[in-house]
């Protein structure tokens, strides 16, 4: 960046943060690196955002620190030592780091080609980061800032979801979304939102009158808003999915097309030789690779730095979501057939926050979701809930929603960069490393378009380097959906049990999940190894008793089918075994077998 632009930014900073002494470095791409000391974490984030907004700034590497505030930083040295000790364990064309929605989507897309693809995931399963902890909205694309990559990929991705759902056999409900105003004075605000949707190319976006709104959304009349609605903004393409189901479907399809998944595998270093990537070092050994696709979520900035390209900083923004009992959905009338957005009045009031909070929506299964909240935190592994955030997610109690209807609340961490846009590109510094970073909302909705874009980057690069990638002739795009007992009629349920009696045994009584479904999940192409992994695939344990009754049964099935001891079965990550030891040593499984 030129001196003039830098000085301008310095001036802006001095004006807004006169007490902060900071050092700024820049490169020719417009990546600004900030160093110095701040008062508190919020200030660190504010400065990062302010700098990212300035003209000519491509992105921000924020190394600002707060005296006395310990910012936990992952120490990779043990992993590197482990990896180096094991040496080269595999040699592939593509390593994808991270099995979230982006990693799984890209794996599935690239599986079309004659390439050896390996997905490495630090956790125990697919969809364990931001992918599992969001409200499953397939946004129409109206909310993203026009001209951003987010806006483009969101609109494209939303369109592509219909095909994804058909091919991969997951549930997609195109419920549509509506924002409405109850005062004529607020109509201009709707117009602004509408114009932005049009600018982004959102399909079917429309401004409609109150009467039409009530026809589309009978819930408005039910809630006594029938006459009050003056105008509404209608987005028919809004969709709902269970996000972990999408990731599982993608991963299973990728796996049946030859993609391999390694779980509990942490990438600790990226090996480059004269500006070209040649592999990664993991705790499971060194994996040689031609392409490294960085879908590492909150750790994406660290992976990029490992490859020698420190070009953005992820600042985790955690959000609490509360899941309410399905039985209560009808009671909460505000939850209509469609996802009804908050009235524009509220949206404007909340405009300051980086992302929406305190919303209400439902899941395809019929649970009500409250939230998320939004809180900037220094620690990427901080997924702790707190009462303030839950209060925010629940809408501060003025909506009649009872805390007693909560069956679970949890935190997701948005992997935000300071541009608050997606970073998807081949690294100009480490050739072969493709960054897929900053994938926060609407990352889920954009996933199909992100996968396509990365496919394009790889294909183009391969072409340019004289080794074009070839399509497989036997690629199978279809993943058949396995039976879901709860969704069948009693006659169909009877037929299913006749074919396979294990569907006649209900393991999770709250969600009506059968042994057959759990066995299907265990014997799938991406094997779930933990109780939570079974939960994400089958819903066993997702109901109101939260596994109180079915956890021992699921654990038993996992141990039996995987040939493991009960004490080896984890709740989720390695080291999270539910049972510590047998209190009847003689009766342990192994002994009994002898």
């Amino acid at each position: 960046m030129d001196i003039e632009s830098i000085n301008k930014i310095k001036k802006t900073l001095k004006k807004n943060f006169p007490d902060v002494e900071l050092k700024m470095d820049s490169d020719e791409r417009g990546i600004l690196t900030l160093k110095g000391e701040c008062r508190d974490w919020d200030q660190v984030v504010q400065i990062g955002h302010l700098v990212a907004k300035q003209k000519g700034v491509k992105n921000v590497v924020n190394k600002l620190r707060v005296p006395g505030l310990d910012i936990p930083c992952k120490d990779y040295s043990d992993y590197i030592a482990m990896g180096n000790k094991l040496g080269v364990v595999d040699d592939v064309d593509v390593v994808i780091i991270g099995a979230g929605i982006s990693g799984c989507g890209i794996a599935r897309e690239l599986a079309k080609y004659k390439m050896n693809i390996l997905v490495v995931e630090m956790s125990d399963d697919v969809a364990t980061g931001a992918t599992k902890a969001n409200n499953g909205n397939i946004h129409p694309g109206h909310a993203a800032k026009p001209g951003t990559l987010k806006a483009k990929l969101n609109v494209e991705g939303n369109r592509m979801y219909t095909k994804w759902a058909e091919d991969l056999g997951f549930e997609l409900q195109r419920c549509g979304a509506m924002g409405f105003v109850t005062s004529n004075l607020l109509k201009p605000a709707l117009k602004v939102a509408y114009n932005q949707a049009v600018k982004n190319g959102v399909d079917g976006a429309a401004l409609i009158d109150g009467k039409t709104a009530c026809q589309i959304e009978p819930g408005l009349v039910k809630n006594g808003l029938g006459k009050a609605v003056k105008q509404a903004f209608w987005l028919p393409t809004m969709g709902l999915v269970e996000p972990f189901q999408v990731a599982v479907a993608l991963a299973e399809n990728a796996a049946s097309n030859g993609v391999r998944f390694w779980f509990n595998c942490t990438v600790a270093d990226v090996i480059t030789e004269s500006g070209k990537v040649s592999g990664v070092v993991t705790n499971k050994g060194i994996i040689k690779a031609k392409y490294v696709i960085n879908c590492a979520g909150v750790y994406a900035d660290e992976v990029s730095a490992m490859a020698g390209d420190e070009c953005y900083t992820i600042h985790p923004r955690k959000g609490v979501i509360a899941i309410l009992d399905k039985a209560k959905a009808p009671e909460y009338g505000a939850l209509c057939e469609h996802v009804t957005m908050e009235t524009i009045k509220l949206t404007l009031k909340n405009k300051k926050s980086q992302t929406k909070g305190g919303g209400m929506c439902r899941t395809p299964e019929g649970n009500v979701l409250m939230g998320p909240s939004a809180k900037e935190v220094p620690d990427k592994e901080d997924l702790a809930t707190d009462s303030e955030s839950l209060g925010y997610a629940m809408g501060r109690g003025d909506n009649g929603i009872q805390y007693s209807d909560i069956i679970r609340f949890f935190v997701g961490s948005r992997p935000a960069d300071y541009k608050e846009d997606f970073v998807i590109e081949m690294s100009p510094i480490s050739d072969g490393v493709i960054n897929v970073g900053g994938i926060q909302s609407p990352g889920l909705a954009s996933a199909p378009a992100i996968a396509k874009m990365v496919e394009g980057i790889v294909a183009q690069h391969a072409q340019d380097n004289g080794r074009p990638i070839e399509k497989k002739t036997d690629w199978q795009p279809i993943r058949k959906r396995k039976p879901q007992f709860r969704q069948l009629s009693h006659e169909e349920q009877g037929e299913l049990i006749k074919k396979n009696p294990s569907y006649g045994k209900v393991i999770c009584r709250c969600e009506c999940i059968t042994e057959g479904e759990i066995l299907d999940a265990i014997h799938s192409s991406v094997i779930p190894c933990s109780v939570d992994a079974i939960k994400r695939r089958t819903r066993a344990g997702m109901g109101r008793c939260q596994g109180g009754f079915c956890q021992p049964r699921v654990l038993e099935l996992l141990a039996r089918e995987c040939g493991k001891e009960w004490t080896d079965i984890n709740l989720n990550k390695e080291g999270s075994n539910i049972l510590v030891k047998s209190n009847r040593p003689v009766a342990s499984v192994k002994e009994a077998k002898k």
Partner: protein, 417 residues
Amino acid sequence: MISVKADIVVIGGGPAGLAAALKARQLGAEKVILIERDTELGGILQQCIHDGFGIHRFGKRLSGTEYAQEFIDQTERSDIEIKLDTIVLDVTPDRMIYACNSLEGMFEIQAGAIILAMGCRERTASQVLIYGDRPTGVLTAGAVQRYINMEGYLPGSRAVILGSGDIGLIMARRMTLEGISVLGVYEAMDKPGGLTRNLVQCLDDFDIPLHLATTVTKVHGHERVEAVTIAKLDKNRKPILETQERIECDLLVLAVGLIPENELSRNAGIEIDPATKGPVLDNTFMTSVPGIFAAGNVAVVFDLVDYVSLSGEIAAQGAMDFLNGKIDCDEPYQKVETGENVSFIVPQRVRPSANKTTFFMRVKSSEKTALLECTADGESVLEKRCRYIAPPEMLTFDLSCCGSKPLEVSMKKEEKL
């Protein structure tokens, strides 16, 4: 789909269901079907290997399994049709039951009368708003009991128990005996939640401290629980930050209350009482849907299994009366109001023609001495002196004739007795 008919179908083979099925058969119901979702009868009693069951009914202290076996033996000797490993998927208001198992597949049963006896479930960490991380090692007391007593595994080595209800107390002793150090029992209320005998036998005898008006405010740990933060609560039940203390442990056991499992009941359109979280019952223990009865913890969470069995027998008698056309479903109800110091009462309503009616109730606050009074339109119809009443202990009384006047039950404080 297989289609069968039965006089009485009992859903749930725990103590309430067993007693109901046996009584119904004894009273002459020809075809009684007992449906149990587990692989054996007995319900939660199968994991209760401690003693103290059956003092009222059998005059001796049995273990839960022994208590259950008394009923299981009788049931197996009878011609009651037992369906194990069978789940009921739907109950309709016209008494059709849809159920399935691996052997018979899907089947429907047209029942003359139905007795619901599905029991209850435990409240979870989210339901009591425990904040912080969500690692392994946070389990409900019932789940821990199952793991230790039935499956033979320990889920930790240093435990903190939240909630001083009976299950929490029983598990404090049980875990201690299994070599787990139980660091303390924490109770958010300022009075213990369990029976006095359990406080003495499970905590005092093992030197396990009980901390009242204290709760767990945060869980720490990434993979496994590493510690919990506890804090004293002020009068408004808000944590006092200055009293926060971190306790290193690897297991948090929750004994924070039971909730009747009424999903089948709700889907059948049965009215639920917000106070008991069970169906609104009449003097025959019939729900708001004619011919569907409820007994045991699905109706209201009991303290003693003896009462659970009794409630099953009451419901069986009611179901038989219904089958025999002895219940006039059109006869208007008289509501039973809860007066001073009564948190709930079951049954919640009676018919004027009712003969002897057994009531079950709990009080809101403890008293050394109190006067149980039942009034009909303001006029006293029953008075009973009670000593050492407390919310954890259920009270029961019979009323020989309910009459047609509105009833109210109260527990009045008495200065002297």
